[in-house]
Amino acid sequence: MTRSLAVRLALLAPPLAFFALFFAYPVAAIVGRGLRADGAWRFGAAGEVLTDPDLAGVLWFTCWQAAASTALTLALALPGAYVFARLDFPGKRLLHAVVAVPFVLPTVVVGAAFLALLGRGGLLDELWGVRLDNTVWAILLAHVFFNYAVVVRTVGGLWAQLDPRQEEAARVLGAGRFAAWRRVTLPALAPALAAAGLLVFLFTFTSFGVVQILGGPRYATLEVEIYRQTAQLLDLPTAAVLTLLQFAAVAALLVVHGRLVRRREGTLALRDPATTAHRPTGRAQWALLGGVLTVIGALLVLPLAVLVERSLSTPDGYGLTHYRALTGTESGTLAVAPWEAVGTSLRYAAVATVIALLVGGLAAVALTRRGRGPLRGVDALLMLPLGTSAVTVGFGFLIALDEPPLDLRSSWLLVPLAQALVGAPFVVRALLPVLRAVDDRLRQAAAVLGASPWRAWREVDLPLARRALLVAAGFAFAVSLGEFGATVFIARADSPTLPVAVARLLGRPGELNYGQAMALSTVLMLVCAVTLLALERLRPARSTEML
């Protein structure tokens, strides 16, 4: 036992070092700068900030919109998770990739697309005279748009590997369709469900761009307030108190989640996903498929289609003018051809993915065996960056990593590091439920047959987790590709990444700039879709040899 603990600690050392150096230390530095003055702690500031009546309003709004967004996302996306896990239909892989595209698009672009649908003169306005801009509904729908894939991928990923025969057995024993699902499948899905719900809540709790653009200036989340205090007013004491408050909220959330998962998580007999899906049979399944496709069409594809439409729209009708302009510098705003941003983004995202896979993968392997004692809570710790304001991390980098040998402030590496910080928790979340669901008797059997622990891991865990690993890599890559928050607060030496280039083009007047921004967003969208599709293809096509 102690030896295995030592192995796990050794495995955990790199992720923990990464976390400490590139997250805990910078954030502590910036919070400390806010709370200390002339060598003394000023906790009086905390009292002042916390008793501000405006803050109560901000906190209340932050919480309830996150809860409502999570509920709505789960309600709309769970049928989708089922359809993708259990049903086979033409174009499934393409659609599976497409639903993840919104997740990586910069909010400034998505905001524009949503306004075109929900705002004045938008589709809803034209059809029914309904305007949703500057309402909470616009915020909630955009949150579903962004997070649909989180639920489909996290829950669907596990669902596809559950043995359907268990549910069939329950039905043979007399349980109704729903009862069988509720008592057999739902408990097995609980860890993934909790993980997905938690992620969605985290993202919407810390929502920034969506709330600003679609809700108008009237609505503010805690994250918006932290941004305003740090980036606009440079009121570090207030920002520090708000950051700690957000930490407390996120930590409480993670503790609850940890309990939930520990209670429900069980060892499951996992099967290859290819064997569990079948073509829809019966009216109910066809209706479900139709419903899911309608939701995806209306909520996800339509806003994306608006982007494409705008990128093709020129003063002389539809054409490729804006795309052609991307390759040159003469007619645009950027000194480098906007096209180069694609290469920069791909390079950064690749580096970030490797870092995230290393960090997150090692952590997941080390945490596979649920421990009592020192390792409990480590996975929650690795999630903290997702609940931390990008401006806090960015400014923390600036003042913490400013002395050799760690003066990374002007290094290109800082951007992928910040991206990996956001990507690593996805890797842990995607791998851990699957690794933990591996039947330990398989490992024991391997050991009995003479396999070393490494060999047993390689022959048992790795093959079973390969799909999760690909999902993790895909997500980490896509997140890095679209990451805008942290990168915008870090000084960057290279040519801009795709989201930054889009934001810069959008910051200038002129139809050509706008059109190029839309064209570049479409390119970002396509690059993501192709990446995700490629990962879909990597998944084993026929793997009946397993078990």
Partner: protein, 365 residues
């Protein structure tokens, strides 16, 4: 478990993926280290905001003349960049900071971000722009005016004269026509608020905004939403408000980036209400504790040369501080704002938060 070995094919695919990613990493590293190591010692690092844009040929000219190679570090908008400089005062990220404007100047000067340097070309810069003339900690580089823009088409169609002054904006004839940006998060939004503070005084601007609110002013969060989504005059826009807070240089930009045919139109599709303008002056300064102070001084001098100044209008859509020949789209479609509104940097630093908070509770909540 493994009944047979066909499964062996799959680890190879995973290996292909890992190798591909690894190669990408290597190319990534290669690209990065080239930037870091080339021309050691002769480098000068320019810290600036995301709107900084200048053709590489111009920077190459600087290298030819002085031997220093310019590396640009961009970090967010002007506010973020200045705050970063304040946080790293004494141990800066680079040598020269470009992009601190008069709304942020006091914050930077008070934090001791800059070290004095009197630029060679300063004599030809009008005194009204030299806000730190006593100490030369910053050098004025360009100016721009934040003004209400109007959609010519709308006003022609409705046979209505576009508003020219702040007073006219509260006229019921212009009810529900104006869209402005959030002063708390957007720099044109803050500029327009400051224009009203200067025009109506510290005691009167709140009453003015009250009337503006009663006249149906719409507030959105950022310039992008205001200009592209709400303003009816932007090319290809579906907005329906013919008045927006933007820049005096927006009409020339509309023409230059209009995407229309080669021929220049008779007039720009949008116009500027010249009585509503707040003047922004952008400065550059040598960062205190810079690693390459000599190169930094040379770069500061270069920023005032004709070579650099004449690129400013078309690259960043701002006005040069040194008199140079302006490009045709500027002379034909731009306006000169003779008496812009302005507020002392020290007063902005002192009251900014208070004004923005008062404005927020007045107009937004």
């Amino acid at each position: 478990m493994h009944r047979s070995h066909p499964g062996r094919a799959r680890p190879r695919r995973a290996a292909v993926l890992v190798t591909a990613l690894g190669l990408a990493v290597l190319t990534g590293c290669g690209g990065g280290s080239d930037d870091a190591s080339g021309g050691e010692g002769d480098e000068v690092v320019l810290v600036t905001h995301d709107s900084f844009e200048i053709p590489q040929e111009v920077l190459d000219t600087f290298t030819e003349e002085t031997g220093y190679r310019v590396r640009t570090l961009r970090g967010g908008d002007a506010g973020v960049v200045v705050n970063q400089a304040v946080l790293s005062a004494g141990n800066p990220q680079g040598d020269v900071l470009f992009g601190v404007d008069n709304t942020l100047l006091s914050r930077a000067l008070d934090a001791g971000v800059f070290t004095p340097h009197e630029s060679a070309g300063l004599a030809s810069v009008p005194e009204e722009y030299q806000l730190d003339a006593g100490q030369h900690r910053v050098t004025p580089i360009d100016t721009g005016d934040i003004c209400v823009n109007y959609d010519r088409g709308y006003f022609a169609e409705h046979d209505l004269a576009p508003p020219e002054t702040l007073d006219e904006l509260v006229d019921p004839a212009y009810r529900d026509l104006l869209v402005v940006e959030n002063a708390a998060t957007s720099s044109p939004g803050l500029g327009f608020l400051l224009a009203t503070v200067d025009a109506y005084g510290e005691d009167g601007w709140q009453e003015y905004w009250q009337r503006l609110a009663e006249n149906g002013v719409e507030v959105v969060d950022g310039w992008e939403q205001a200009y592209y989504e709400r303003f009816s005059g932007a090319g290809g826009s579906s907005g329906d408000r013919p008045l927006v807070v933007s820049y005096a240089s927006s009409p020339p930009a509309e023409v230059a980036f209009g995407g229309e045919s080669e021929e220049l139109p008779a007039e720009a599709p949008t116009g500027v209400s010249t009585g509503t303008c707040f003047r922004q002056i952008e400065f550059a300064g040598l960062l205190d504790g810079a690693a390459h102070p000599e190169g930094g001084r040379a770069l500061l001098d270069f920023l005032l040369t004709d070579t650099f100044q004449r690129e400013l209008p078309m690259s960043m859509f701002v006005n040069p501080v040194v008199e140079t020949e302006l490009p045709e789209v500027f002379t034909r479609y731009g306006v000169t704002v003779d008496e812009p509104w302005s507020v002392e940097p020290a007063a902005i630093a002192e009251h900014r938060e208070e004004w923005v908070d008062a404005w927020t509770s007045l107009v937004v909540r």
